[in-house]
């Protein structure tokens, strides 16, 4: 049995013009210690998928199993790094992380909490900024606080919802390395949602494309057979990397084209003749 299992997941949303099926027939198995990336276009239902896994939303049909148990709500066993950091702006870096520490280690002394928080903040090398408010930090630093907060819950699995989407390329690369090195230390199960194929290949063991919604479903998986630790510059020359990358991009392009040609809607132009204002 897999660590995390999604069986025939469907998710509908009620809207003014009826039901929309955002996700349909999602099947996914993630083994313990695996790093899986789901790659998809924006608006393909990635965030909905994440919310189903972490327990913020419930599927319309199908089931999410975590360690064999159905997911009924949020739990500190599944740490989440949100797309837009979601730090509480009125709390300092330390206080933000402390909130998670208190959840993971209830009924401990304050000094223990503080030590734990300091440890996780150190992990993302933010110790100098420990007493700063989020607005005093750069985007990359904020996202590192979010990483520290997610780790501070001591999760068995970490779910990342486009964690680096809003960052510039350099910061992004740095943070990818940082997340990877943290992951490699204790090989926690990780799920990365991203729209960047390169990021997925660099970080994950498997890449699964998400076909765009509505009715989004998972495509065939691509195994990444690259040695860890991976090196970005060397990777670019690796024939294996090129092959996988091309295959994934081709697949995504194909479904992109499909999506375009699938549109059968015809727009009838109104029969209008320009009015002659000059008489």
């Amino acid at each position: 049995m897999a660590y995390l299992e999604l069986n025939n997941i469907c998710k509908n949303y009620h809207q003014a013009d009826g039901e929309t099926e955002v996700l349909s027939n999602i099947n996914l198995q993630i083994e313990e210690g695996e790093f899986v990336a789901i790659v998809g276009f924006t608006g393909s239902g990635k965030t909905t998928l994440v919310n189903l896994i972490n327990g913020l939303e419930k599927p319309t049909s199908g089931e999410v199993l975590f360690k064999g148990e159905p997911v009924l709500g949020t739990s500190h066993e599944r740490g989440v790094i949100f797309q837009n950091y979601s730090l509480l702006p009125w709390l300092t870096v330390e206080q933000n992380v402390l909130m998670a520490v208190k959840e993971a280690f209830p009924k401990r002394e304050k000094s223990v909490w503080k030590r734990k928080a300091a440890h996780y903040i150190d992990m993302v090398s933010l110790t100098p900024a420990i007493h700063k408010l989020p607005k005093e930090l750069s985007g990359g630093m904020r996202q590192r606080v979010a990483v520290a907060r997610a780790l501070a819950m001591k999760p068995d699995m970490i779910i990342m919802d486009e964690p680096l989407g809003a960052l510039d390329a350099l910061t992004r690369g740095n943070l990818q390395d940082q997340i990877l090195s943290i992951w490699e230390k204790d090989k926690r199960t990780a799920l990365l949602i991203t729209n960047d194929v390169d990021e997925g290949i660099y970080m994950a063991d498997r890449i699964i494309p998400l076909r765009p919604g509505p009715n989004a479903t998972l495509g065939p998986e691509f195994k990444i057979d690259l040695e860890r630790p991976r090196n970005k510059t060397e990777m670019n020359d690796n024939p294996n990397f090129k092959k996988t990358r091309n295959a994934i991009i081709e697949y995504l392009m194909d479904i992109g084209d499909e999506r375009k040609s699938e549109s059968k809607e015809e727009f009838v132009l109104p029969e209008l003749t320009p009015k002659d204002f000059v008489k």
Partner: protein
């Protein structure tokens, strides 16, 4: 250098940034561009204040003339030439017994203000003397278990301001303690929201006078048989009920529109209800709550005058009403004095709330 920076922060924080410019002007550090700005910020308001007093003076004078002419003509018609001449002479001499009753001029208002202060000093001295005289007696009375003898003379203008401030703060606190918790509950639960919506919509626009009457009906019965003066209780409860709506609506809105991301964070971190309210929901809705409280305080101050007048609670409202009923020759001037005092205190209260708001809300731009 550090002291200057702190001073700058403090004065900017209080919205009194122009003090700094004033300081620069005297230390000769002012640039040309700054000088222009300084002139616009100080000379223009000063000029408009002077213009205001000038127009007021002219207006009061012309109203005075209309009233005077009418009086003299009436005297001429009713009582004949000599009486009219006598009245004219009397008016010219400045005798207060025959002055026409109309809009007072700025100088009359100023002298009334001074006379009110003198009056206050006299009454305070009187009070102090009374306290001294009764000190020994009161001690024995208290040791015998009797009530102490208190000063029951007329309150001075300053006492009335003080009493009005007490009423408004009591009313404001009442509004705060009702509206904020209620707003949080309503904002958290859509069910409560639909249960309370009609209530808020209907009672929000009700006039202060009606609130006063309602509170009067209830408090009168509740305090039946009590010898205490209930006017203070009635007026502060009415003020609180009138003014709490802005806070209630704003708190509800703030709480129900907390960023979904923060709510998700609270869920993922599995915060308890208590933690969720105090760590996530309240801080994130503080800016809106404070906007509501600011409106509440200014509404409270505004309706206070009307309610004190009705409740006969000794404060500025009652002062204005009594002066109007009194009809003494300087009553009109005293009413104008009260008007300015009310306006200035209202402004200061607003500033106070703004300062507190800047201080507590998280998205402050200039952290101190």
């Amino acid at each position: 250098m550090k002291a200057t920076a702190t001073l700058g922060k403090v004065s900017n924080f209080l919205g009194l940034g122009f003090f700094l410019t004033l300081k620069d002007l005297f230390t000769g550090k002012l640039q040309k561009e700054e000088l222009k700005n300084f002139l616009r910020k100080t000379i223009v308001p000063l000029a408009s204040i002077l213009l205001f007093f000038g127009l007021w003076h002219l207006g009061a004078k012309s109203l005075y003339n209309i009233e005077a002419d009418f009086k003299i003509e009436k005297a001429l018609k009713d009582q004949g030439q000599t009486a009219a001449e006598a009245l004219k002479a009397c008016m010219a001499s400045g005798d207060s017994s025959c002055q026409p009753n109309t809009l007072p001029s700025p100088s009359q208002v100023w002298s009334s203000f001074q006379s009110l202060l003198r009056d206050h000093n006299i009454i305070s001295a009187d009070k102090a003397a009374f306290a001294e005289k009764t000190a020994a007696l009161n001690e024995t009375r208290i040791s015998e278990g009797k009530d102490a003898i208190v000063y029951t003379g007329r309150p001075s203008f300053v006492d009335q301001i003080y009493r009005s401030l007490q009423t408004v703060f009591a009313g404001f606190l009442l509004a705060l303690f009702i509206a904020v918790p209620l707003g949080i509950f309503i904002g958290l639960s859509p069910t409560l929201k639909s249960a309370f919506n009609w209530f808020i919509q209907i009672f929000k626009p009700v006039s202060p006078v009606v609130w006063y009457l309602l509170v009067f009906m209830i408090v009168k019965t509740l305090l039946i048989g009590s010898a205490d003066d209930s006017s203070f209780t009635i007026s502060f409860i009415s003020v609180g009920l009138c003014s709490m709506w802005a806070t209630l609506v704003n708190t509800t809105m703030g709480v129900s529109s907390v960023d979904k991301d923060y709510v998700n964070v609270a869920k993922v971190l599995k915060l308890g209800t208590f933690q969720k309210i105090f760590k996530v929901i309240l801080p994130s809705s503080l800016p809106l709550i404070f906007t509501g409280l600011k409106i509440t305080l200014s509404v409270a101050w505004m309706v206070l005058i009307a309610i004190e007048l009705l409740a006969q609670s000794p404060g500025l409202g009652l002062f204005v009403w009594e002066e109007f009923q009194n009809g003494a020759n300087d009553s009109n001037a005293k009413i104008i004095v009260a008007m300015f005092v009310i306006g200035i205190i209202g402004f200061l209260l607003d500033r106070l709330m703004l300062t507190i708001q800047n201080w507590v809300s998280f998205d402050k731009t200039d952290a101190i």
